[in-house]
């Protein structure tokens, strides 16, 4: 797969270390990665880079990940196209139900394991319409 064939990813986490680690890890694997450090910035980047996948941390100051997920999924133009992976520990049944309500497509446990993160991104990439 060439670089062009990898979907653009937006990584949202208020922790700079986390975004750097994820950017490096996915960047090496050919994904064009953009990072944002809070919900507001994430929404701006979302409209700018039009990512196919968003990795979204839940615990952020200001707008939290759930609110951002809902706003992205309801976006008139981009909401249908994006797949959103929540980065959080969804332990309880009800947490997962809540995640479904916001429109999230997948989740990856936090603290995350990079191998697991890449697998999660890959399985969501596989469900995207072909981007040639």
């Amino acid at each position: 797969m060439t670089n062009q064939a990898r979907p653009a990813i937006l990584v949202v986490d208020d922790n700079f270390d986390n975004t750097e680690i994820i950017r490096d890890y996915l960047g090496v694997r050919g994904y064009p990665v953009t990072v944002a450090h809070n919900g507001d910035q994430a929404l701006v980047e979302f409209e700018r880079v039009r990512p196919a996948i968003v990795l979204l941390d839940v615990m952020m100051p200001g707008r939290d990940g759930w609110e951002v997920c809902r706003l992205m999924k309801q976006h008139a133009e981009l909401g249908r196209l994006v797949r959103i992976i929540m980065v959080t520990a969804l332990d309880e049944w009800d947490d997962k139900r809540l995640a479904l309500q916001t429109g999230a497509d997948d989740y990856v446990e936090k603290p995350f394991d990079l191998g697991r993160l890449a697998e999660t991104v890959e399985r969501n990439t596989a469900l995207l319409p072909s981007i040639g």
């Binding site: 507001d40 615990m59 707008r63 009800d94 309500q101 469900l127």
Partner: protein
Amino acid sequence: MRNPVLLTDSVDAAIVEAAALLDSWELLVRDGAALLDEIDSNGDVRVVLTTTTNPNALRDLFEHARSRSLPVLVGCADETMRRRAVELRADDWYRDPAPADEIAARVRTAIVRASQSGRLLAEHADRVEYEQMLFDSLSGLPTLPVVIERSRALIKERGELVVLYFNFVRYSKIEEIYGWEKLDAVLETTAGAVRDFLTRSSSLGTSRVMVSFTHDDDFVLFHVPSAGEAVATEVEVTALLRDLEGEMSRRIEAAHGEEISALFDIYAGRAHVYYNPKVRLQRQIYRGIREAASAAKSIEERERGRKVDDLRVSVRDGLVDIEYHPIVLVSTGETYGYEALARGRMRSLRSPEVMFEVAAEADLLWELGRLCRHRAIEGVRDKLREGQLLFLNVDPHDFADPAFTEDTLDVSEPRCVVIEITERTAIKDYPKFRERLRAFRERGFRFAVDDAGSGYAGLGSIANLEPDFIKLDMSLINGIDVNFIKQNLVETMVRFANDHGTMVIAEGVETAEEFETVKGLGVELVQGFFLHRPGGLPALTGAARSAHGT
């Protein structure tokens, strides 16, 4: 230039070290009123760091810091404090205790976030939110504030307008049963039908019609006649409403099936607004909307009264039909059993959801339940193959019906009958309910928890009922092939079922992809339109007839 100050209400080694890491910052420690004074008066303070656990003190601190646009960083002792910090929109926080380098990094982040560029980002994000409030993303229709703004000049010019209000009853039921994805799809179809209808409609002539979406699940239409044209007459509007209702039902049935279109009703109300320059225009329009909405409501109530009458007749004359929906073994494709589904023979009651809702209102639940059970059992007599089961829906209220007991249920082989109890209805008297279940169980009847995982009961409550079958909620199956959270939930339920010696049934399987996914997750039984539609039972040959009958 003076050094920037980190103002804090507490001090420990990590905070001192963090201040040192911040290169030429000064640390200033103050408490209570002195802290607030310092925020108000000390121009060198750049960030306020607090670790207070007192909610009032925290609120005061935020108030003072906000008035000076100072970023606040909160060291949170526990989850409660973290939530509080989020609510107050702290610029950043950390879990206390934290290492000095983290605290220093968070001080820097808080400053960036509170800066001009941080505020610009917030404004942009607010705009995204406002846009979503002004235009419904699904239907693309403008919401009320937009339409009012657009119609303002027209109404002044023409002097009148007609408000048509469309009230959709039971839309929320679609979400409850099938999940929000389905509801969204139905709303989209509805909006499309409204748009197409208006472009074709001739009775509104060349008038300006504006559609608005109330963001709940109702639609409002504004009809303003063109210059020199009369406003549509009462008769024209009534005809228009009828046509539009018909068009919507047809479109929804074509796109989403009869089950869904039979589920809800559309009622329309009308109000005439004459422009009065003495009253604020917005108020006049809102008053018109309220009037039209209440007209729609009173039609709904009248129709409800009619439905109750229909139900009384149906119960008295036994006007209920049963359809049987096969439940299939994934491994062999064989029919494992049938779920009996009751439908009213009268058109107004053809949806079981509607029929039981009307029965609850008319206090006829027990009578309707008895009729449906009787018909369902009668319908399978001598028609089940050896080992096949009959799944019967029983409302938890029915367990309080003195006529519903393990002895009165007219079956010769209780082991062939599975009683389905929905997770959705709250069970009030739990011990008593379990006692009744036990009596049925001892007689040989089996149990299924219906709509499991819909969120009304936790796994613990499901385990408490010790069911033989768990029927997964349809909203979990809809689109499961593309949603990994749903897959995870179903996987959890399958594991739970295996641990408790229970079989899982996936209901509402509508596509090959959904079927393959639930199969891959270890679900043993499936039910849904992908395999079969509900219908009559196949005729049995003599050899296959079960020895016992049911």
